[in-house]
Symmetry: C3
Subunit: 670 residues, 3 copies
């Protein structure tokens, strides 16, 4: 279920909280006027509005919301309508303290904050279902409402007795018997064997803290518990109009839940993107968010929404810089280039109080349109109108797929070995991703479960595939035998889905395809380094160096020093119709650019721009148009293969063009 039929244009708007301003009716009227001036066509309403919607238990007050939605509709502005479950009213916490979360120290929290309720609590679920249903009954068929915004930034977990019982139920389903649980959690270690289900409890710093398998299962359970909650909310709002799609706004570098799994519960993926512009290297910031855009697009294999971004600055970093002039347009085009169908902000108007009163907003405390921020927001609105033909178009089909797997992320974070707690899985995936992104190559992401069909891809990269599960070994083997090119790295295939170490040679199930097996995993202290020597090149290696033995693989590069000097560090193995590379150590990024640059060239993987891009300028193709973006602090020249029209300015360009800092072009061939 996608958004397209409901609204045929890029969404432009943001979080709108009229419930904070009910006593200021003049502000509400002014908002409509300013939204039109800013070319806003959609706002997210009702996030955190529970106390306004149900001021007394069971007594709903929809009058203000009726008025707001009707006024918006009259002004041509659509509504992304939220369920209010992201924060609960004081009365529910007071009457039913069990809705409050219990933390890892088994402390029941007090009323306050948000995203901190127990997702298991029957009373909480019942209260949420009731108000969700009431909202649906009233608004699910309102023409202004085009999307359900379930709750807000689902996150965290609870350790209350009810959650403990659900955890045990989850484990019972997963493992079948206590004996199997004991085996998979390897409870023979430290005499941890359970003899009764009631002994099993969530991990805790003041209880069972050191079993990585248990921790990973706790994360899986937390994912399921949240997914189940989402499905409950979805069922409530769909009980009236099952055609109205639901989204939930996800987050960057999110760790608590497996998003590939969670995304199954929603119709449309949306997320909140807050790069730290100006913090040192905007290109690195952009690459991390570009990767997340591609990841979010990959979750369901369809376009996504940018649900939140700041029009100016945030308020929750240690240092909150303003976006420089031009950055707002550039940073709003980046998600579009990767498949977003919206540019939405947190927040429309700065509140007068609360923790986010100074978070950037389209309308500030001055209340006027006469600000740089407002003007830049309107410019983005104008740009979105110019790019209308690109709405709902797809990103160019990728031939490259990178594995990013939440269960592997958790497993690496919880495992105690090598560089303990500092394995940097996401950073490593980003380093591999960046080599393609900076070359203008499209990339998809898959996790171990979801990569059922690798046939669209020529090249699959699996960095640090520590935990192999979901039959990923055979999927990769088949892919290579069928002609694909695979790249894997150190720490591969060491444990299985249950967290138990694979016995025998590793990478488990992949040694034949790779033609190598691992011997030792050396971890380097900060400041220590080794070298990858490949023909006449030398590349710096740090942090993690695996000692491997080449069985059938050809050695492409060797270690330059330490006791494994001369031993293989980079190999390739022919296998069936394909080939498989293995990179045994963590290289400097320049190596990845070189290495993947060669693969791109050899394999003829298409790039958005054929010529070499200057450092900092990136290109992505979507809907036949090429987004050309300069994240460098300096200008750079790009050689166009053929004359193009820039959709944003309607200029025609050809030959060598100069990209100014923060400049963005959206080019179509003419």
């Amino acid at each position: 279920m996608a958004l397209t039929p409901r609204f045929p244009a890029f969404l432009h708007g943001g979080d709108y909280n009229p419930d904070q301003w009910l006593k200021y009716p003049e502000v509400l009227e002014e908002d409509i006027r300013l939204m039109q001036a800013a070319k806003v066509n959609c706002v997210s309403v009702g996030i955190f509005a529970w106390a306004a919607l149900e001021p007394v238990e069971g007594e709903y007050d929809f009058a203000w919301l009726d008025r707001v939605i009707d006024r918006l509709w009259a002004a041509g502005i659509r509504v992304d309508l939220a369920t209010p479950s992201g924060a609960r009213p004081a009365w529910i916490a007071q009457k039913y303290p069990e809705v409050l979360r219990v933390d890892e120290y088994f402390r029941r929290h007090h009323f306050g904050g948000r995203h901190n309720h127990c997702l298991t609590s029957p009373v909480y679920r019942e209260k949420v279902r009731a108000i969700d249903t009431a909202l649906a009954e009233r608004y699910a068929s309102h023409p202004a409402v085009i999307l359900w915004h379930l709750s807000n930034e689902y996150s965290g977990d609870c350790r209350c007795p009810l959650c403990q019982e659900k955890f045990r139920e989850y484990l019972r389903r997963r493992y079948g018997s206590l004996e199997a649980l004991n085996e998979h959690w390897w409870t023979g270690f430290w005499s941890m064997k359970y003899t009764d289900w009631s002994q099993v409890e969530s991990p805790s710093p003041i209880g069972q803290d050191a079993n990585p398998a248990m921790w990973v299962d706790w994360r899986r359970f937390s994912t399921q518990q949240c997914k189940d909650f989402i499905l409950m909310e979805k069922a409530a709002v769909h009980s009236v109009n099952p055609e109205l799609p639901v989204t939930a706004n996800l987050m960057q570098r999110f760790w608590d839940y497996d998003y590939f799994d969670l995304a199954e519960a929603i119709d449309v993926v949306s997320w909140d993107s807050y790069p730290l512009w100006g913090s040192g290297n905007d290109l690195v910031q952009a690459s991390e968010h570009a990767m997340t855009h591609d990841l979010m697009r990959s979750l369901k294999g369809q376009n996504f929404l940018l649900m939140e971004s700041t029009p100016s600055q945030v308020n929750w970093h240690a240092v909150n810089r303003m976006k420089k002039p031009g950055m707002h347009l550039l940073s709003s085009m980046l998600p579009l280039a990767h498949g977003a169908d919206s540019v939405m902000y947190f927040q429309w108007r700065k509140g007068r109080g609360g923790s986010e009163m100074f978070h950037g907003a389209v309308v500030g405390h001055d209340g006027t349109a006469d600000t740089r921020t407002f003007r830049e927001v309107r410019s983005v609105g104008e740009a979105l109108e110019k790019l209308a033909p690109l709405y709902a178009t797809e990103k160019k089909q990728a031939r490259v797929c990178i594995l990013y797997d939440w269960q592997n992320l958790w497993a690496l974070d919880y495992a105690q070995f090598a560089r303990k707690g500092d394995m940097r899985y996401t950073e490593t995936v980003n380093a591999h991703y960046r080599a393609f992104w900076q070359a203008g190559v499209s990339v998809d992401f898959r996790d171990c479960r979801a990569c059922t069909d690798l046939s669209p891809y020529s090249l699959v990269i699996a960095p640090m595939l520590f935990m192999t599960h979901g039959g990923i070994e055979e999927k990769l083997n088949s892919f290579v035998r069928g002609g694909g090119t695979l790249v894997m790295t150190y720490c591969a295939g060491m444990i299985g889905e249950d967290g138990l170490a694979w016995q025998g040679r590793t990478p488990h199930g992949l040694t034949e395809t790779l033609g190598i097996h691992a011997l030792e995993l050396d971890a380097l202290f900060d400041g220590d380094a080794n070298t990858l020597i490949r023909e006449r090149d030398q590349w710096r290696l740090t942090r993690l160096c695996e000692v491997i033995e080449a069985d059938t693989a050809q050695v492409l590069g060797r270690y330059g020093s330490d006791y494994y000097a001369g031993q293989p560090c980079l190999t390739v193995n022919a296998c069936g119709a394909g080939k498989a590379y293995y990179l045994a150590a963590e290289p400097e990024e320049a190596f990845l650019h070189r290495f993947y640059g060669e693969l791109i060239r050899e394999m003829g993987i298409p790039k958005a721009i054929g010529s070499q891009l200057p450092d900092g300028v990136v290109a992505q193709e979507r809907g036949g148009a090429v987004f050309l973006m300069n994240f460098a602090p300096s200008s750079g020249d790009v050689l166009l293969d053929h004359p193009c029209r820039d959709l944003l300015t309607d200029r025609t360009l050809s030959g060598k063009i100069t990209m100014n800092p923060l400049e963005v072009l959206v080019l179509e061939k003419v």
Copy 2:
């Protein structure tokens, strides 16, 4: 009520704890002898003596204290008599656990430590009142006793149910209705609206943590609760002899309570000053303590007491250096120069155990007078005798007033924006202060409420006046219109007393006077910088840069780089008979010295020494004498306008004199 009538000389002495030595009668006798040898004329007795005074509930033992006070009196030594409420005996904690504090995690603490009782607890108050009254009945008319020392270093807060109820009562009084509370705390944000008073609770990391307005109100409430406790103690000791003044020893960089408010409850301000001499830059240390001296003097607009200082070293820093020879005299003269009427120490004699057994003392574990510390203490005693004519004289009336406002301090610390949690309000005020202090100019401090009369001042400086309250806008406007010169900086007038952001242009209520309004507040990362360009000068800017628009103001300086290069950074506006400067960014300190140096010259603000002082040498005038102090590690020359007599050495000096490192002179014109 001041001290003067009771004791006509500078107090010299310190905390004296004979209750620790009751089993060592020979030590008590020796103490008297040593006090006389050290020229000690006053000691603080009974701080933390509750267990000795009331060993069993309701049974007082005053015999030892009778003996101590009589012996002191016989030896000519006065007594600053403490109420013992700074720490409670074990029996009270055991029998009435509600006297123990509940922390921000809602944990009731166990017996131990000090300054950690519930100030609300009726039983605690009753026990304190009873012993205070008993002490007053016995000693309030003793000729030796010249001052009440209420408790010790009041601080902190409690979150027990009784305090929660008091907090709600406070809020009810403050806001009148729950609806008003909801409005002022902006509880529409995150659905935090209260529907019953019983839902309101103190802020907590495991409860309501993110509402800045609530936090500031919690601090205000804590101030009131402590003030109320002080008034209770004061009433108890005044029930017998209302003529005996009371003090409470305050602290440096104290954050928990609003000292301007608290000081209303006491007769005489005293405080505990512990510069970190030798930690790098003694001049900076001295400037921070000089500022606090002036702040303490300003609290009640009268002389204050230095209640604690160390004669040698402290024991609670990470690194506890000894004072170098000469530093003890110099550091004892600094408070005098700023209006202190005493030099008192913590502590007279090192205890044999306890956490402060190694804290510096006049008498060490060796028990003799034959130590450098003892000799330097005696020298200070001699110096105080020589300076007797200056006792109770006033510091030269200041023409410069700086605003330092506790509520603003809290508001900036709790606000989430810009450089979050790192706004450095006190440091910034100190940077402005230092420019005057190093120039030898007298400075007073006021807060927003207390600056009712600005007429004595020619120049008022309000650094980072984020929260405007108490009608400060109109006070400043009037001041300028009436001919005063005002200097304000970035972050001004953004929120009101209730914590709500001002709507419309900022600095709220001051844009006409200043002739500017603020547009954007940019926060710079560490390492980033901008430049203030003023005529041919360039000054480095860091951390916070506000983008402003000059309306009627004249632009004196502009930004040198970034997207706001060329925009105004320093302005001045003529308004009525006065003028108002606005500094939009945080400059290097050298700029403040230059800028204020020019203002001092232009405005003819008097300096203690007319000629230029070498770096590290400072001068302050009090009672007609000029204290000239060298905090630099090197010598420096000072040119005297006229011949002077040094009261400390009785030498006559004139022309160019050389100040050695750590040298201090107290000069009177001859």
Copy 3:
């Protein structure tokens, strides 16, 4: 009671956990085969096996252990049999929650982890006694079993009500009366006087936190409580066969208990040594572990066992490097050189799960003997066979004794003064130790209580002897008067056993012998320094500089700067037939090497190798053989006085030989 009669060869083996593999009978069989291949002759069995041994309360299952021990015995492998009290089964925690520890915040912990049970709990003691007795009844006379391994790495403490009561009992025994307790804890300070025993509670961050004497007593109590628990376990296993010796594996840099005291409860000392090889300076790592080897040997004045070490890498450091080739042999010879009679590993085989699944092991997850680690382990097995004549021989009698005193360690850590919490007692002792170790000189350790007989020594060193107790003053005075040479340093003799500061001149009781007394203790900030000037040498001083006065002592060196420039920093005093040095400040290490080098030469203290050793090469003599070890990353030449045979390679060497990096020789005169 020593091991020798039971097994006449160096033990080689490690922790073996067949209880984790009961479902994999093929693994158990393979283990025996691999142990023989690795020349393993002893394994530690049953550590953490409680859940396997007593799966249901009161129902023991010894069948699997019977089989394991019989199979091992049949294969010629001895057993170090563990009591399982290091971790408890889930059922005991569930049924008797009082076995779980209560932490310093008075939180009862939940089930999980290890070493975290209440050592006071009667039910825990009863359950441990029962299973220990049952184990003893079954195995104490089994020919394979040569040693009892009591529990595992005893550590920590509990604050439950039962422990509180035991703490009060301990204090009652120690002090006799509450009045005496009040006096020794100096509770006159801060009104902390106890009027009833029931008011006394363990120190806590949320209770009584700041009394150093109380903290030290808590550590003493914890030591006693653990010792009592050990004696209980020992009695249980000795109830059947009192001839079987018991050990407990101790740890490096252990702080919780006084090991000199604890060691009285066991027959044989063993410990777990995990140097951080490759982290920067292997020589420093080696020196710290060499010191601990000597300390462990000194605990009972007899040879010890290396109970745990890693054959490859650990998994619990932040960075876990592999041992380089050769390091395993070298690092296994180091303990032997210092008196170890074993080389044992944690662990024999990597588990498939649990927190230590990636900790280094003889057998990895590949399950084969075909790894570098396995081959190096076998090499160590071969080396141990070659060194058989050295088994149970003693280290050469030391003429140097260094005081290392746990109570002093605690006192310095808890005291609040100088460089608070950063006094670095152990590091300082190690710096003094290293000067001898690198010179090839044997060193013994004693604590204040245990140094009853100093007559074997010519030179006694007492670094930072802050707390003097056990009559140490008179022991040292007698030692010097009798002709010994004593070296003491700053911070000496400041407090007594009860934590009370000594009154009068310090170092308490030693001023006559030393001929000096202390005046002031200055603490330097990081980056600050002073200089020790001795004749023409200058040495850098940092951190701690004591100002002293020489009474009868001769001044050998003086301070170079600051206000104590020219005052004595290094002195020597003739006293009776001996002399006593005093070093008043913390010098750079090179000074200690020079200073002690001179003393060694003057006093004719024997060295393992007469000639100068190159940097990084160390030599220790044991059983007539000299272990020559190179911990430097480069080669170094050693001049042999006479021809020698290397026991490891059977080569004969003479004259100048070159030691390669990581090379080790075990030389006997030929």
